[in-house]
């Protein structure tokens, strides 16, 4: 094993403040957009904002942006697993009507 000391990246306070303000604004946007009826787009808009906010938290507050490649790999595999859960679960819901149920 290599003796490898991890350098600690020091993030300026300004960056944290900026991220924090962005998160607050986006929370407000989420609340506001829920009062506007966009039809089918309601869910997509709300989820997009939420995903964007989560990304900010992971990258800056959780320091993944400054982390090692192994850290990034672990985070990506976590996301991949979440996708697996969502995609395979949805594959059930999408294909439920394909074969008729006798008597119904």
């Amino acid at each position: 094993m290599q003796a490898h000391t991890e350098e600690h990246h020091i993030v300026p306070k300004r960056v944290y403040a900026l991220v924090f303000v962005t998160l607050i604004i986006l929370t407000w946007v989420t609340a506001w957009v829920s009062t506007v009826d966009l039809g089918r787009m309601n869910i997509y808009v709300a989820l997009s904002i939420a995903v964007f906010k989560a990304t900010l938290v992971v990258l800056f507050f959780m320091h993944v942006k400054y982390g090692s490649r192994l850290t990034k790999l672990i985070v990506c595999s976590g996301i991949l697993w979440l996708m697996l859960l969502l995609f395979i679960t949805m594959s059930d819901i999408w294909t439920r009507g394909w074969i008729g149920v006798p008597g119904r």
């Binding site: 094993m1 192994l70 595999s77 976590g78 697993w81 697996l84 859960l85 395979i88 679960t89 594959s91 059930d92 819901i93 999408w94 294909t95 439920r96 009507g97 394909w98 074969i99």
Partner: protein
């Protein structure tokens, strides 16, 4: 033998290095934390066993004469919850893994000793929540917490029980995290990945499942609590939810959780078989990678629990095929253990007896799993005793047998004492006979159509049920005897040498019990793993 006349100076080890309750409750030594886990997990095993006794007593007669149906529902639920979340999941990783992982890789401790201690306290907190449920009236949903029973209709303490499982999950996330970082960062010089003992590979794979799967069950139980407590709709169609969604989310964790219970056992068996055949395991890399393959593919098969729900037939077919595929890595292991024994000098010591038991019983458990993976046959046996027999063959025949094999294999290392060879062999025999007598009749009962989770049944099922209950009492005796002779050995057992079985992994190179820092000098590894060329076979007994 010459009796020493000079006063014996006790060697310093992790057990006598410090004294007093505080030295245990605030310890950061992975070996002491393992013993804390051993005590707590053993208590829960007794509690879960008590519920099993009630179930088997009730089922000795066709009428519901011992327990009424509500109590019976609670009894089998608590049996499942306690055995799965509080015994099977932590048993091998948190006790044997905790104790052995640093020793096997030549490290002084796990990467995060404080987090390790924290995981025990988190586990105990979960235990207190679970015990509160037990004492205040229980819960009747089954350990699977299916909606809408759990979210709407059940009268039991669903939220508190879900909370207990939720908290216990965090304990296993912490353990998994600790193991992964430890294996990556703490290996002794020269210990490359392909020189790691197979026990370490198995625990690495288990840890991956723990950190990728456990958050999902935590979230699922959290959603259930929200729906039950605050009527936020996730699973109830009246609020726009989908009850089958709960089953998807639940089994996304709970199928891989079976591998959390069985993979560490497989790691134990690899070590035991190699040691008692004095042979390098046949196909080392295949066994190592099959652990990883099980961990990954185990995540893609959960829908086989949903064949009779409203899951789409197309999804069912995919899940069915994937379930067949996940049997391959398990089969690789069984074949490789058998090949290791082939033409080897098999020494039938107690750990090896359990290992042989594991191989036979796990094979039956695994193969009946394939019956259940077939969509057509599954409809016939869903929710019958066939399923109960199948998963007990996997979890008890596999998980518990592996745990007992490991406990007997490393007991001399953990406590520096030998246990009674005769009694341990008698107990191993009783466990094997008792287990088969308990659960084999259940395959027949299930195939004949006896549903699980009912406390009354038609009289024609009585003979097989009586056989099963009789087997359970033999099994109970088989578990009781080790409790006695192992405890006895702590004080009266013969002193164990550093390497009683002739093992070649690193933990056998330090004294029994090991010093607090594990090794007096950090080992440097120069030869390949499982190199028995210079290892003498010890004479035992």
């Amino acid at each position: 033998m010459i009796t020493a006349t000079a006063p014996v100076i006790e060697e310093k080890n992790y057990l006598n290095a410090e004294h007093g309750l505080k030295s245990w409750l605030l310890t950061q030594d992975h070996k002491r934390i393992a013993l804390l886990y051993l005590m707590a997990v053993s208590v829960f095993f007794i509690v879960g066993g008590f519920f099993a006794v009630l179930i088997r007593l009730e089922l000795a007669t066709p009428a519901g004469d011992l327990l009424d149906s509500n109590t019976y529902n609670k009894v089998f639920t608590m049996h499942g919850v306690v055995m799965i979340f509080f015994f099977l999941i932590p048993s091998i990783p948190a006790i044997l893994g905790n104790f052995l992982l640093p020793l096997m890789i030549g490290a002084k401790d796990l990467a995060f000793p404080r987090i390790n201690l924290l995981s025990w306290y988190v586990y105990m907190l979960a235990g207190i929540l679970g015990t509160t449920v037990l004492l205040t009236g229980g819960v009747d949903t089954g350990w699977t917490f299916y909606t809408p029973l759990s979210s709407t209709y059940s009268n039991g303490y669903v939220v508190l029980t879900a909370m207990a499982a939720f908290v216990a999950g965090f304990s296993s996330i912490l353990t998994g995290l600790n193991f992964i970082v430890t294996v990556h960062r703490m290996r002794a010089p020269g210990l490359t990945w392909f020189r790691l003992p197979l026990f370490v590979w198995a625990h690495y794979a288990t840890s991956v499942v723990m950190i990728l799967g456990t958050p999902v069950i935590a979230v699922t139980l959290f959603l259930l609590m929200l729906e039950r407590g605050l009527h936020i709709g996730f699973f109830d169609p009246a609020y726009g939810g989908d009850p089958v969604l709960f089953q998807h989310l639940f089994w996304f964790y709970s199928h891989p959780a079976v591998y959390i219970m069985i993979l560490p056992s497989m790691g134990v068996i690899s070590e035991v078989v190699s040691t008692f055949c004095t042979k390098k395991p046949f196909g080392y890399t295949f066994i190592a990678f099959s652990s990883v393959a099980i961990a990954v593919f185990g995540f893609l098969v959960w829908g086989h629990h949903l064949f009779v729900s409203s899951q789409s037939a197309y999804a069912g077919m995919v899940f069915s095929i994937l379930t067949y595929i996940v049997a391959i890595p398990s089969a690789i292991k069984v074949f490789n253990w058998s090949a290791t024994m082939y033409k080897g000098q098999v020494r039938l010591e107690t750990p090896m007896l359990y290992a042989l038991g594991f191989i036979g019983l796990f094979t039956i458990g695994g193969l009946t799993g394939l019956f259940l993976a077939a969509m057509g046959l599954n409809v016939h046996v869903t929710d019958t005793y066939f399923v109960v027999a199948h998963f007990h063959y996997v979890m008890v025949g596999g998980g518990v047998m592996g745990y007992l094999a490991g406990l007997h294999h490393w007991w001399p290392k953990m406590f520096g004492r030998m246990y009674s060879r005769t009694w341990s062999m008698v107990a191993a025999g009783l466990v094997f006979i008792g287990f088969n007598l308990t659960f084999f009749p259940q395959f027949l009962l299930g195939y004949m159509g006896m549903p699980r989770r009912y406390h009354v049944y038609p009289p024609e099922f009585q003979v097989l049920n009586v056989l099963s209950s009789a087997g359970a009492s033999i099994l109970a005796l088989g578990f009781l005897i080790p409790g006695i002779y192992l405890t006895w050995s702590l004080k009266y057992g013969a002193k164990a040498p550093a390497n009683p079985w002739g093992g070649v992994t690193l933990e056998w190179q330090t004294s029994s019990p090991p010093p607090t820092s594990n090794f007096d000098v950090t080992p440097v590894i120069t030869n390949e793993v499982y190199d028995y060329t210079n290892q003498e076979v010890p004479h035992i007994g």
